[in-house]
C-alpha cells in the first residue's frame, strides 16, 4: 500500500466515506462522524497506521484532508 492509500484508508474507515470526496474540501465537521470524538478516532488511526505520536497543536490544527497531509510531513510521513 502507498502512503496515500494508507492515509485515505484511515479516513474511509473512520468516517464511512467514498474515496472520491477525499480532497481539500473534506474538512472537520463536514460529515457528522467527523466531530470531536471522530477526530480523536482519526488521529488514533493515523498514529497507528504510520507509527507516530502527534503533538497537541498538530491534532488541533488538523482541520482537513489536505491540511493533514502537510501536518504529517512534519513526522517524516510523505504522502
Amino acid at each position: 500500500m502507498t502512503n496515500k492509500e494508507k492515509y485515505s484508508a484511515v479516513f474511509i474507515d473512520n468516517f464511512s466515506v467514498e474515496e472520491s470526496i477525499l480532497n481539500e474540501k473534506f474538512v472537520y465537521q463536514s460529515v457528522p462522524d467527523w466531530d470531536s470524538v471522530g477526530h480523536m478516532g482519526l488521529i488514533a488511526g493515523l498514529e497507528e497506521a504510520f507509527d507516530i505520536m502527534m503533538e497537541m497543536d498538530d491534532i488541533i490544527d488538523f482541520s482537513s484532508y489536505t491540511e493533514g497531509i502537510k501536518i504529517l510531513s512534519k513526522y517524516d510521513v510523505v504522502i
Binding site: D57, I60, D61
Partner: protein, 271 residues
C-alpha cells in the same frame, strides 16, 4: 475619563490574553474572557477605588468576578494596573500557580474572592454591601455575572434580596454575550425580557454597548434612583477583538495554537 487611554488599556489586555493563552499550552476560556475586556478596563482603569500598596484597605471598592471563568479578562486587567506582575501573570495555568482557570481569593494579587461555580458572587456581594453600609465605609461593590450564569436560581434569590434590602451601593454588571457552554443562550434557556426581569425584581436597570468604554463609564458612575441596587446589562460579543473568534462558540473553552495566535495577533497589531 480619558476614553482613548482606556481603549488603549483594553487593546493591551487583549494582547496579554493571547500571549498568556499561547504560553500556558492548555485550553482557556477565550470567548468569555475577551467579551469582558472593556468592562474590566473601565472598572480598573477609571472607576474602582483601590490602593495597590494596600490591598487590604477597608475603604476599597470590591469587585467580584461571579462569572469565574472570565479570568483572562480579569487577570489581564489586574496585570495592567499593577496588582499582578509579569512573572505571576505568565504563570497562569502552570502547575502550582496562584492563577488558574477560575479566581482563587488572594488580596495581595487583587483577587477579592474564589469563584468558578456559577451563581455565587451576587450573594457574596450582598453580604459585603450590607457590611459596608453597617461600617459606613462608603465603598461600592461591583459584581460581574454572565448571562448564562443567570440560569442559576441562586442568582434570583440574590436579586430579590438586594432589592428588598435596598442596597444602593451594589452594582451588578451582566456580560451579555448571548452564548454559554452548549451554545446560544436563547436556545438553551431563553431569558426573555432580561432587563425587564431585573426591573420587576426591584432594580434600577440600564443597558449599554459593552465594548463602548464611555457608555460603560457613565452607566457605572451615575444613578437615577437613590435606594435601589443597579444592574448594567452590557451587550457584548463573545470572543470580541479577534474576527474568527467572535460569536464562535468553539472558542468557549479551547486551546490557542501558534497558527491561531499568529492570525489573532496580526489582527490586533493592525489596529
Amino acid at each position: 475619563m480619558d476614553t482613548v487611554k482606556i481603549d488603549k488599556m483594553a487593546l493591551r489586555m487583549r494582547k496579554n490574553i493571547l500571549d498568556v493563552s499561547l504560553s500556558c499550552k492548555r485550553s482557556v476560556h477565550m470567548g468569555g474572557g475577551l467579551s469582558l475586556v472593556e468592562i474590566l478596563a473601565t472598572l480598573y482603569g477609571a472607576v474602582l477605588k483601590y490602593d495597590l500598596h494596600n490591598p487590604y484597605w477597608d475603604e476599597r471598592d470590591r469587585f467580584i468576578l461571579s462569572k469565574g471563568h472570565g479570568v483572562l479578562g480579569y487577570f489581564s486587567a489586574l496585570h495592567q494596573v499593577g496588582f499582578i506582575d509579569k512573572d505571576t501573570f505568565f504563570s497562569f495555568q502552570t502547575n502550582g500557580s496562584d492563577l488558574i482557570a477560575h479566581p482563587v481569593m488572594n488580596l495581595p494579587l487583587g483577587i477579592e474572592s474564589s469563584n468558578g461555580s456559577l451563581g455565587h458572587g451576587l450573594s457574596l456581594g450582598i453580604g459585603i454591601a450590607m457590611a459596608s453600609r453597617k461600617k459606613k465605609t462608603g465603598n461600592k461593590t461591583y459584581v460581574l455575572l454572565g448571562d448564562g450564569e443567570c440560569n442559576e436560581g441562586s442568582v434570583w434569590e440574590a436579586i430579590m434580596a438586594a432589592a428588598h434590602y435596598k442596597l444602593s451601593d451594589l452594582v451588578a454588571i451582566v456580560d451579555f454575550n448571548r452564548f454559554q457552554s452548549d451554545g446560544e443562550s436563547k436556545t438553551v434557556i431563553d431569558s426573555g425580557k432580561f432587563l425587564e426581569k431585573w426591573q420587576s425584581f426591584g432594580w434600577e436597570a440600564e443597558e449599554v454597548d459593552g465594548h463602548d468604554v464611555k457608555q460603560l463609564y457613565e452607566a457605572l458612575t451615575t444613578k437615577k434612583t437613590q435606594d435601589l441596587p443597579k444592574v448594567i446589562i452590557a451587550h457584548t460579543v463573545k470572543g470580541k477583538g479577534v474576527s474568527f473568534m467572535e460569536s464562535n462558540n468553539d472558542w468557549h473553552h479551547n486551546r490557542l495554537t501558534q497558527a491561531s495566535y499568529n492570525n489573532a495577533m496580526d489582527e490586533l497589531e493592525a489596529l
